[in-house]
């Protein structure tokens, strides 16, 4: 797996764009629309190489206060990352979103930036497959997304690394029945793991199943949650349910480490 690229400061001239070959639509507040073949940011300015209708390419300078929005279009790397997330492949998601994360961090404060979209994928992946090195990097490079759900999830993940006691309190507070946020999903996973360690099987089952029931859209959390549920059911002596979950993990998330662990569980 590739390492997360180091993040560069906002004065970056031109960074490796995950959009090579794709034009970005830059809408200005005066209604003007520019199709940028290349784009870089320097402080409060955007330097664009713009395609004109006659096929020529001209340089344009846009002051950020003039900017209405940048439409980055659909990024193939994010499309693929979503597919990987659907398959529960957290490591794959972390790998494929590492470059987009670096790129969009530069534009994180601009309307239309895909920074929240990228972080939505990365935070869930980091919660289940992040190494301490990755989490330290996340903490260093973090910029608020403007989405309270993601910003809370970030704080929760970082607390898990730096302040375990505080994190435990937060998990308890966030793991409320019916809550549908990423932070709630992470909290259920963690409380489930804690219950497993304490051999509180019923509590573990409830926590893991809460991930499945209340945050089903967080597919990256599901393999771990289902494996936790299978383990807790097995320990409770309910082998039928444990086997059903093992089967489900194998069918829905083949190739994940959890699928392999689930297969071993019943041996």
């Amino acid at each position: 797996m590739k390492k997360l690229l180091p993040l560069l400061g906002p004065a970056l001239l031109l960074i490796a764009s995950p959009f090579s070959g794709h034009a970005q639509t830059v809408q200005l507040k005066d209604g003007k629309v520019l199709f940028a073949k290349e784009m870089r940011r320097e402080g409060n300015f955007l330097f664009l190489k713009v395609s004109t209708p006659n096929g020529a390419v001209t340089d344009e300078l846009v002051q950020l206060p003039q900017l209405e929005r940048i439409d980055f279009g659909e990024l193939p790397a994010l499309v693929e990352a979503r597919q990987l997330a659907q398959a529960g492949d957290a490591k794959g998601v972390l790998e494929i979103t590492s470059q987009p994360a670096v790129f969009f961090r530069t534009y994180a404060d601009l309307p239309g930036s895909l920074w929240p979209d990228v972080m939505r994928l990365r935070l869930a992946a980091l919660a289940v497959a992040g190494t301490s090195e990755m989490l330290s990097e996340l903490q260093k490079s973090w910029l608020p997304t403007g989405d309270p759900e993601l910003d809370t999830a970030f704080r929760l993940i970082v607390a898990g690394q730096n302040d375990p006691a505080g994190a435990r309190t937060a998990w308890k507070a966030l793991a409320q029945p019916g809550a549908g946020t990423l932070a709630a999903g992470i909290s259920w996973l963690e409380t489930g793991q804690a219950a497993l360690k304490a051999k509180q099987w019923r509590e573990a089952v409830r926590a893991f199943l809460s991930v499945e029931v209340f945050v089903p859209q967080q597919r990256l959390l599901l393999p771990k949650a289902l494996l936790g549920a299978a383990t807790a059911f097995k320990e409770k002596g309910d082998h039928g349910k444990a086997a059903a979950f093992v089967h489900e993990i194998g069918a829905d998330f083949p190739g994940t480490p959890e699928a392999a662990a689930a297969a071993d569980l019943l041996k």
Binding site: G31, E68, E74, D117, P177, G178, G180, L209, Q217, K241
Partner: protein
């Protein structure tokens, strides 16, 4: 109107037709453009016309359509002319449309198109005409007109195609609608119209059975496209629609995927607010652009009017979203149904529990009921009862009360709470007499009474059931159980009548074999063994290998014993012990056969029988007893060494297994056999003197069969060998040695190493020695490691006694109650009952304590020190009430009748003396102190010291 299933559960906004949405968009365009069209230059009669026009258009812009209509009609009536009149004719039609007068609007639009077939608003007029056709109910005409607009192309094309597709969908022509919409979305979902088309396409595909395609469309509309959705409520409606389609088709996983895309109300509101903000920003940008490029002013102003209309529409939707009923309960109910369909009941439980977070949620009653039912299905009886209890408390007259009562009752039965179960069934019968569950409730109530041995009530209830539901589901069983109720009440005549009538009514019934057996049993009860033999013989010939055959054979054997045909009886008992279906009958027949064999002195046959039993039923609970009897039979046969060897071998197999607490019984028996000297061999010749007997050494004998070297050296084995030696010492009257050995066990062996029986004995010994701390540890270990042991009453009693000694009567009372309720108090009933009385006394509940003490004092089987203490405490009860004379009688009874129990006697003397002091009779008091001090047997007791010191105080007086 799109048909949305379960519409009653959804907020009104869901019911918005896709057509309506398209129509609204079209109308907004029409209205706003009319208002902003280039000002009409009134040709004649000059200034007045211009003024009328301006006023009319201002009224139009303000939504005052009657005023606008009046002005526009005035314009026509004054004969204004010129190209600017095109706007007047168009605006007039639009005003009628907005005034909701479709007939007039239609005529006005047709007039406009006749006058200006190539007019600037001709395309809009055509679209508006199509809309009026919809309003007039002429859907076919509308579809044709929408198709015409679509053919024309231009900015109205997408709207027209959308509206046409909506009409086609409504008309059931899903395939054509889908084709049209696919064309609209083919270019990608970039505009609000294409997103709207995708929404409609999703709905069409779902209705058309193309659920997977619909789900795909719904998935595509998530994420980055969400801001393009005009009305997020529609997106939720689509998610529900697709989810419901999957749910109804039994495709539960996909249903869950669709339901997973339903947005919460707060998210919907947020989305709509963001969309309004985006539109407002666009509006401002257009104004800025118009200033910078005056040539584009009209174009941008037109665009802004569209934006304004969209903003109005979005605000309306936002308002609706804010006011709409919360879709969460409907969503959770559907998700729960899908999980149930997948057999995932635990997940469904979580969903309903989440609905109960708010105590005043409108769906609370349904959620509680569903949750209770789910717990019942999961076999979580305690949770089911708890939830349904809350349901009944909060919604006492809810529609599902009858089902709740039935479920609660059946689950209470599972938890062995028949009295509470009966209360539920009673409530069901009383409160819901028309319930479809009435029959089941009545039958279960009767069964509950039957299980509580309340046969009269059970009989009465079965009768009620049979009267009301003579051909009901449980009629056969009710008839049979009625006869059984008589039988178990000892009413054999009506029982026989009942069984016979059951046989007649149900010759092939489920209980025919049992009924025939019970009839024979009735004859047995009537003391007619010959009849019993006859009936049992017939039964055996007719039914042979049946689960009741063991019972029949043992009944047959009992009758043969009564007829003194013991040989035949033994054979039948042994047959019964082999084939009986229940452990109880096996046990009964085995030991009944043993009794007859003993009577006939056939110890060898007895030994053979137990050997066979031990081999055939290795897991039967009577195994240890059988081993005991086998050893005994061997000993009686004159083979004590063989008996000891047999016991030794069995002990060897289990001695290091902590869970086998029956080992102690065998150890005790081995010790007993070892304690007795072997019988001298019989001599042939009476004149020959017997050889000199070697002195018997019980300990050596025990060591032979229980040599420590033959066993693993573990704490448990050491403990068990100590126990055997202690038993031997006890049997050979070496009581001090027996106690010392037990003390050694308590000291040397950790509680965690001991089995249940030794834990109980060690703990009792520690308590007897007053070491309550250590005793408490052993009792707690017994409870923790052997929660199903038969000896738990030792633990509860011991912990209760310790609590009493520590001055914690409430805790003690609880322990004594557990001893009875949880452990059955099979061994410690006497101690537990007396302990309970003492706890009540300490709590000051003398009136509650008194009958308990009377019970102890009156129970013949408990006669002994407990009786003495109970009598003494009865005296204390009266003393507390101030009845000193009455109390004295009890105290005197103790030292007169129970002299063996020194501790109680000393206490009784002391208390009697104290009563006399209170009665101002110092001489009698002194006499009692003196008597207490003079008894040498009591000299070691602390009461004597007290008596002496009081005598000293008295003497100066």
């Amino acid at each position: 109107m799109g048909s949305l299933p379960c519409s009653t559960l959804l907020p009104p906004a869901r019911k918005q037709a896709f057509l309506s949405a398209a129509a609204a968009a079209a109308l907004c365009g029409l209205t706003s453009i009319t208002g902003l069209e280039a000002p009409l230059q009134a040709q004649a009669p000059g200034e007045a016309a211009a003024e009328i026009y301006t006023k009319a258009m201002t009224a139009f812009s303000n939504g005052d359509f009657p005023a606008a209509l009046a002005g526009l009609q005035q314009m026509l009536s004054i004969g204004a002319e010129g190209p600017g009149m095109e706007s007047v004719h168009y605006s007039l039609a639009a005003a009628y449309f907005n005034q909701k007068e479709p007939q007039k609007a239609k005529a006005a639009f047709e007039n406009y198109l006749k006058l200006y077939p190539a007019g600037v608003r001709a395309a809009d007029a055509l679209l508006a005409l199509a809309q009026t056709e919809v309003l007039l109910g002429n859907k076919i005409g509308a579809a044709v007109r929408f198709a015409d607009v679509a053919k024309l192309g231009g900015p109205n094309r997408e709207q027209a195609v959308l509206a046409q597709a909506a009409l086609l969908k409504e008309g059931g022509n899903a395939a054509e609608a889908a084709a049209l919409l696919q064309e609209l979305v083919a270019g990608g979902l970039r505009t609000p119209e294409s997103v709207q088309a995708a929404l409609l396409l999703g709905s069409v595909e779902a209705a058309h059975g193309e659920r997977a395609k619909a789900l795909g469309i719904l998935g595509n509309l998530q994420g980055r496209l969400l801001p393009l959705v005009d009305n997020p409520l529609q997106l939720n409606a689509l998610a529900f629609e697709i989810g419901d389609a999957f749910l109804n088709a039994g495709e539960f996983k996909q249903a869950l995927a669709a339901y997973g895309m339903v947005k919460r109300r707060e998210d919907t509101v947020l989305l709509q607010q963001q969309r309004i903000q985006a539109l407002a920003r666009k509006y401002e940008a257009n104004i800025a652009s118009a200033k910078a490029e005056p040539a584009r002013a009209v174009e941008l102003a037109t665009g802004n009017q569209r934006i304004k209309a969209l903003v109005d529409q979005c605000k309306l939707t936002l308002e609706e979203a804010g006011k709409s009923a919360d879709t969460l309960p409907a969503l959770r109910a559907r998700q729960a149904a899908a999980y149930q369909g997948l057999g995932k009941l635990d997940e469904a439980v979580l969903l309903f529990e989440s609905l109960l977070q708010k105590p005043d949620a409108p769906s609370r009653a349904d959620a509680l009921f569903s949750l209770g039912s789910l717990h019942a299905q999961l076999g979580e009886a305690a949770d089911c009862i708890r939830v349904l209890e809350t349901y009944r408390k909060e919604f006492g007259s809810a529609k599902n009360l009858d089902t709740a009562l039935l479920l609660q009752g059946t689950n209470l039965l599972q938890l062995d709470r028949p009295e509470d179960a009966a209360a539920c069934f009673d409530a069901l019968l009383a409160r819901k007499p028309e319930s479809p569950h009435l029959a089941t409730g009545l039958f279960l109530l009767a069964n509950t009474r039957f299980s509580q041995s309340q046969y009269t009530d059970a009989l009465e209830t079965y009768k009620k059931y049979l009267k009301r539901f003579a051909k009901g589901e449980f009629a056969e069983e009710a008839a049979y159980r009625s006869a059984l109720a008589h039988f178990f009440s000892g009413q054999y005549a009506p029982a026989m009548e009942g069984f016979e009538s059951y046989q007649k009514a149900h010759p092939n019934g489920l209980y025919v074999q049992d009924a025939e057996y019970r009839i024979a049993a009735c004859y047995s009860a009537a003391g007619k063994p010959a009849e019993v033999v006859k009936l049992c013989t017939t039964w055996e010939a007719r039914h042979g290998d049946h689960p009741v055959s063991g019972d029949v054979l043992s009944l047959h054997a009992d009758a043969l014993v009564a007829l003194d045909k013991r040989e035949q009886a033994i054979a039948l008992y042994r047959k019964s012990s082999v084939c009986a279906a229940t452990e109880e009958v096996v046990h009964y027949s085995l030991f009944a056969a043993n009794k007859e064999l003993q009577r006939l002195g056939r110890w060898n046959q007895s030994a053979d029988m137990f050997r066979e039993f031990l081999a055939a039923k290795p897991n039967h609970p009577s195994q240890v007893l059988a081993m005991y009897w086998l050893a005994r039979a061997l000993a009686k046969e004159g083979k004590p060494e063989e008996a000891k060897s047999f016991l030794s071998s069995k002990i060897h197999a289990f001695i290091d297994d902590r869970s086998q607490d029956a080992v102690e019984q065998l150890l005790s028996q081995l010790a007993q056999l070892c304690s007795k000297p072997p019988r001298p061999p019989a001599t042939q010749d009476a004149s020959t003197p017997p050889p000199a007997a070697t002195p018997h050494d019980p300990e050596a004998s025990l060591n032979t069969f229980l040599a420590p070297k033959d066993f693993p050296d573990t704490p448990l084995v050491r403990a068990r060998i100590l126990f055997a030696r202690s038993e031997l010492a006890r049997m050979t009257k070496k009581t001090d040695e027996a106690a010392a050995l037990l003390d050694r066990m308590c000291k040397d062996i950790p509680a965690k190493a001991l089995g249940a029986s030794l834990l109980a004995q060690c703990a009792d010994r520690l308590l007897e020695r007053g070491d309550t701390t250590e005793a408490g540890k052993f009792y707690k270990e017994l409870l923790r490691s052997f929660p199903k042991a038969d000896l738990l009453d030792y633990a509860y009693n011991g912990l209760g006694q310790i609590a009493l000694l520590n001055g914690k009567p409430a805790e003690a009372l609880q322990s004594f109650e557990y001893a009875v309720d949880k452990a059955g108090a099979a061994t410690k009933l006497r101690e537990v009952t007396l302990g309970r009385a003492k706890a009540l006394l300490q709590l000051g509940r003398t009136e509650d304590a008194r009958p308990v003490l009377e019970q102890v004092a009156a129970t013949r089987e408990w006669r002994g020190e407990a009786t003495a203490e109970a009598v003494l405490l009865l005296g204390e009860v009266l003393a507390k009430k101030g009845d000193l004379a009455g109390a004295l009688q009890y105290f005197q009874r103790v030292f007169v009748a129970y002299q063996r129990y020194e501790k109680q006697v000393a206490r009784a003397y002391l208390r009697a003396a104290e009563c006399f002091e209170q009665l101002q009779e110092p001489e009698k008091a002194a006499a009692h102190y003196r008597e207490l001090s003079s008894k040498p047997k009591l000299a070691h007791l602390p009461e004597v010291e007290v008596a002496r010191s009081r005598l000293k105080q008295e003497s100066p007086r």
